[in-house]
Subunit: 257 residues, 4 copies
């Protein structure tokens, strides 16, 4: 059972709330998958000019914990301001911190990220930083007061799955006691199972579920896939063996002489 | 719900019965994972000199359908003979047909396999052939009367996972109506999820479960992983996108001039 | 220096002769890359109704050894007949034997391949069989009298590169003394370098060169890539190391407590 | 022909000078591979207490351009100081800037790297920064005055090859006019060919050559592999095609009904 800033949860699946075909589908996906934490984009939703409006009401009505995010923020001050608005709207110190550094890849600006994290932890926020798979950046975030890390496994919306398993495994090995959530880049359940097998604590998804043919069924599929990966990690898996090179003298080799 | 030779099953996980730490663990693994079909090696078990003996009793006692196999048979006549013994012992026409062609990789001898399949279907057997990922061999097996195919995804016991996804996907695409079970080479749940996402109908496992630190938990993990993969296949997954090449004009490119 | 049926060659690059923008480009590609062996499709070229015609004249004029092939043949008798025609046209016992088993993948029909190989070696042909990466099939081809093997690394024209390195390495390990040529599926020079690093003796290419923007330059690139791979294989390469798990106690780990 | 800070070179291979079996082997490797630029670790060599000593003499005697590096420096001030020493010793403004952030992975500390780069370019250095595959960090380095970038493809000494081709390709796409040199992680020539096919301008190697069974032959193999990759990039390669899904109606499908 993972613990994020003192909060124990059963479910290792976190869901984003954007781009669903309808609020009903979102609601049903959350319910069917037994998700306990959802992220909400303050900036995207507030852009409709209705802070505290219908969308936020609906989210509150889901009966799950809300992790507001700063999606779409491109600078430190914008991200900090958005975090503060989020605290008002959702009455929580939790914030998923995104400081975007590139329009195409939507990848973190690790410089702005560490700076914003430092400011926000200083103001009492409990920061969930959306970061890259860079170990040294991870160390800086921990030094800045983050007690959870959220590395990507591929660009947001790419559905590419873990592009650099070695880097993800290195982060896990170097931070045995920090809760780690893979955030962004997961496209299908096998990707989620794989990162859980690396020992990650949870997975955050949005597009892979919201954009599926049947988002409700897909949320449920991911929930099972994530449980499976965790259970396998704890049960002790076999290491793969290279069987290309014969272990015994080759039978009948003389035939080819 | 897949159908194998007219038999409908709920569970898409098939388990082998060799190399468990104890009969109790095997029994519990089958129960926990809700497996409905187990394979049993006639040749291995009979080598103890006790046909119909204690091991077979125990297997019958599991309350699941038995798929006897010809594991370890290296020639057509040996495989055919073993299949006939299996029919006596387990009172079933089902046979998982293995004709081993190489001591190291334990891979099928596709020549002997097709020949043995033809003989056995001619004698009323319902053959589940353990084969490679070769499409043309698959066609020959179907011509020989096989109504289920069991391609490997990697050598038995390698735990390497799908070594050639392209070949597996080609088999799926060319045989849309033949039940396909991946047999051999799966090492961890993410491998099983992945092949189910390709559209396979089921997965057969042995070492990955029997050799796990906790075989019972691992069987359960695989059951969930396989369900997840199937559900995702049916729910409609996103295709991965290559985001390495920018979709929009690069902002600030002039800076680098 | 590899030896094919008693013939020593310097160059480890073999080129197909189909689909070049012009005979001049083909000729220049052969010359620039210092290729010593080219394959020619009897069936394709003869389909123009002009056996021994202009195309064959041009090929003979290249001053390199010709390896006629049975490309496009779908059955044993068609392949054997084509091989015999080739012997007449090019006055050579060499034949690249293709027996195609599938319209889409253009992959070998391994059953027909072994049968045709047996017939042809019995009639004095020196057979270069185009085969899959199946070790057991490779053994049958050697038993049928083949003294060279030509496994594919991916479907013809896919440009996908080595789809199953493990299977290719297994073939190399099991046949340390049989000359092995990778035939089909290579798309770019790095693919060719990689298979040479596995210890293969040579590479046969067609589409990757003929279909390149500049076929002459591409032929030259492949020639260098193949030399590089061979030289590396002989010079002794480092094995990759997994550095994800720290080798030393993690410095400053206490920080994260 | 790439240009680094106004200097045109023919060879796209740069070699490190550490860990060779002997100075004679190093010298011969440089000569045989026609390398025009070598890197030298000030800190490692000076640790012998003999700045300007025998090793530096030997390097100067190679007759190639020297790119001093700050290998082993863990902080900004240490790196800056080492760079200044290097300028004295080798009378060059060129510096390969390494600011190491982790003992295990020897990966860059991107925070220290950008800061040191800014300081050094301000003092007239021409900086070659050893960096990760992070696009946003690359932008900061360019803003800091770097006119060449040297991303890693895997941890130093891992010989793992390009772990994240997507990230490398993204850097190439976003910086079409900045010379890009892959530095660290290359293990075998096929890795070097692959990154050159992505459009990189050059490759810097050390362990893969110095630690090879025959370093001189290996240096020569890499030189060819790198040329091959570049030539292919310029000649226009085929894109791989997915052939798993049939392009034509499946022949004989009715058989399986």
């Amino acid at each position: 059972m993972p613990t994020f800033y003192g909060v124990d949860v059963e479910s290792r699946l976190l869901l984003g709330t954007a781009r669903y075909p309808s609020p009903a589908k979102l609601s049903e996906a959350v319910r069917q998958s037994e998700t306990e934490i959802v992220t909400v984009s303050l900036r995207r939703e507030a852009a409709g000019g209705r802070n505290g409006g219908a969308f936020f009401e609906m989210i509150r009505g889901l009966g799950v914990r809300v992790l507001p995010n700063t999606a779409g923020c491109h600078g430190v001050s914008e991200a900090v301001l958005t975090a503060k608005m989020a605290r008002e709207v959702f009455a929580t110190n939790w914030i998923k911190l995104e400081v975007i550094g590139n329009h195409d890849t939507l990848q973190p600006d690790v410089f702005g990220l560490v700076e914003a994290a430092r400011i926000l932890t200083g103001e009492g926020f409990e920061v969930f930083p959306y970061t890259t798979d860079d170990l040294v950046v991870a160390e800086r975030l921990v030094e800045a007061g983050c007690k959870v890390l959220m590395p990507w496994c591929a660009p947001i919306g790419s559905a590419a799955g873990p592009l650099n398993p070695s880097a993800l495994r290195a982060i896990r090995a170097h931070f045995p006691e920090v809760p780690l959530i893979v955030d962004a880049g997961i496209g299908r359940p096998s990707h989620a199972t794989a990162v859980m097998e690396f020992g990650f604590d949870a997975v955050l998804l949005n597009t892979a579920v919201a954009g599926a043919g049947d988002p409700v069924a897909m949320a449920s599929a991911f929930a099972k896939a994530i449980e499976a990966g965790r259970q396998a990690y704890e049960a002790g898996m076999l290491e793969p063996r290279d069987m290309a090179v014969p272990s015994t003298p080759v039978i009948g080799k003389a035939v080819f002489a």
